[in-house]
Symmetry: C2
Subunit: 272 residues, 2 copies
């Protein structure tokens, strides 16, 4: 889960998301709309007798906030809670899972704030069947090739070169989540080539002064980052309540970067 505003639990129930599936929560910054639902979710996990660990990643201070809430509600959590502080210095590896690396890097907002990228380590490759069938390969060797990795002999030489057994290589996917940020061209290199970029677009160009003042971005600015970073698709979000109709924001972005979408509550966006 990335960010957890007030009412997130309610939305999880509404959209039939099993909250027991949530093991990792990444909080970008400590403005209320990005984290005020976290304590309620933790409390519910506790009341529901959760046993599995919960890992939270967020800015310094969030650990204190959580501790204080637990202290005053006299709560001894029934599950282990691990907290990792993010920093606003450089790109950092926060977490490495079996097939995923998650990084944070700083955004320019009114308070310490980070973006997150979710980067697959490998992708299941499509093998050339004729070369595999009857080749006498071990299961582990095929699995290695499926992940795009060469099979290595004990003496270090290459036994099977993955590129020779793979059809067209399938590249690992990358997703970048840039929550609240002013227009910041230095993001371009950090999100370069990702498959999906979520970038806030609180305002339209007509309200650009307001965007600068509050350290937010316009739809056009989000699209400019997407275009210059040559990402595959752009997802806009964090719209100001002043806009009743969101399509003008979409059109504004599409004029710069065609493959843009509006994020809609409850909708799922698959990364191809």
């Amino acid at each position: 889960m990335v960010d957890c505003g007030e009412g997130t639990q309610h939305q999880l129930r509404r959209f039939h998301v099993k909250s027991s599936k949530i093991d990792h929560v990444f909080i970008s910054h400590l403005h209320g709309d990005h984290y005020l639902g976290l304590m309620g979710m933790i409390s519910t996990f506790h009341l529901n007798n959760r046993k599995s660990p919960l890992h939270i990643f967020g800015p310094p201070g969030l650990d204190e906030i959580i501790t204080q809430h637990l202290k005053y509600s006299h709560t001894q959590l029934k599950f282990p809670l691990f907290f990792t502080r993010t920093t606003t210095e450089g790109k950092n590896l926060l977490l490495e899972l079996e097939n995923l690396r998650i990084y944070s890097f700083p955004l320019k907002h009114r308070i310490p704030c980070t973006a997150f990228t979710f980067e697959e380590k490998y992708r299941q490759q499509k093998l050339i069947k004729e070369k595999i069938v009857g080749g006498g390969m071990a299961v582990e060797e095929i699995q290695s090739l499926l992940q795009g990795r060469d099979v290595i002999n004990t003496d270090g030489s290459i036994k099977y070169r993955a590129s020779e057994y793979i059809k067209e290589p399938v590249l690992p996917r990358k997703y970048a989540f840039c929550s609240d940020t002013v227009f910041d061209p230095s993001l371009v290199s950090l999100v370069n080539g990702v498959d999906l970029l979520y970038h806030e677009s609180t305002f339209m160009e007509a309200d650009k002064d307001r965007a600068k003042l509050t350290l937010h971005s316009t739809a056009e600015e989000a699209a400019t980052i997407a275009k210059n970073a040559q990402v595959k698709e752009l997802l806009l979000g964090h719209f100001s309540v002043r806009y009743i109709d969101l399509y003008p924001l979409l059109w504004e972005a599409k004029a710069v970067f065609e493959a843009t979408h509006l994020s809609e509550e409850g909708k799922t966006y698959a990364i191809k």
Copy 2:
């Protein structure tokens, strides 16, 4: 406002309650379902450029929690926020307004928790018209009688005795709000004769063991307090999610105390 769980802002909007009308918030205790909506509401007041003061009454620790949230979101509130700590020692006058006194007193729950009573100081009386009209009374004198107060001469003697000018006396109204509490007969004297008693009824008698264990009450227990305290009406609330149909709780209470109601989201209960 009494208590402020997660999503309270959402409910205010849903039921068209003007949040700008809220000047005083009373928090009974620091379990999440009673206060986790407070920070979001304060943030919204701030973002909406609220200017008028907000007075919060709650247990020790809530002040620290608020301060910490404001610190980490770098928020300098645009309105004055006053905080008064409640205590779990005896009945205390928290606030006196023009025609209202608000008290707190302790409840027996797993963490420090208080009830609140809202007590009118006077009620507009119905005067006997024939005795007033043409009697040469000053406006202030009539206002005094309307509030049920005698008019006193400068020498301390009674000029007009209120009881002589009043039809049937109208008594000031009292409302008691008992949030989370185990069945506690000592409440009877504290809520004696109130016009409306809100009393939690998390469970039914069939789940009485669970009620005792978690320091909550059953519907029958709430009704027993209402009956012994000779209150006019009882409002049940804080129902466990295990009960899909709430009418059995109502029937259980009504068997002991007939003038019982279920609290329903968004419904207004007038105190006669």
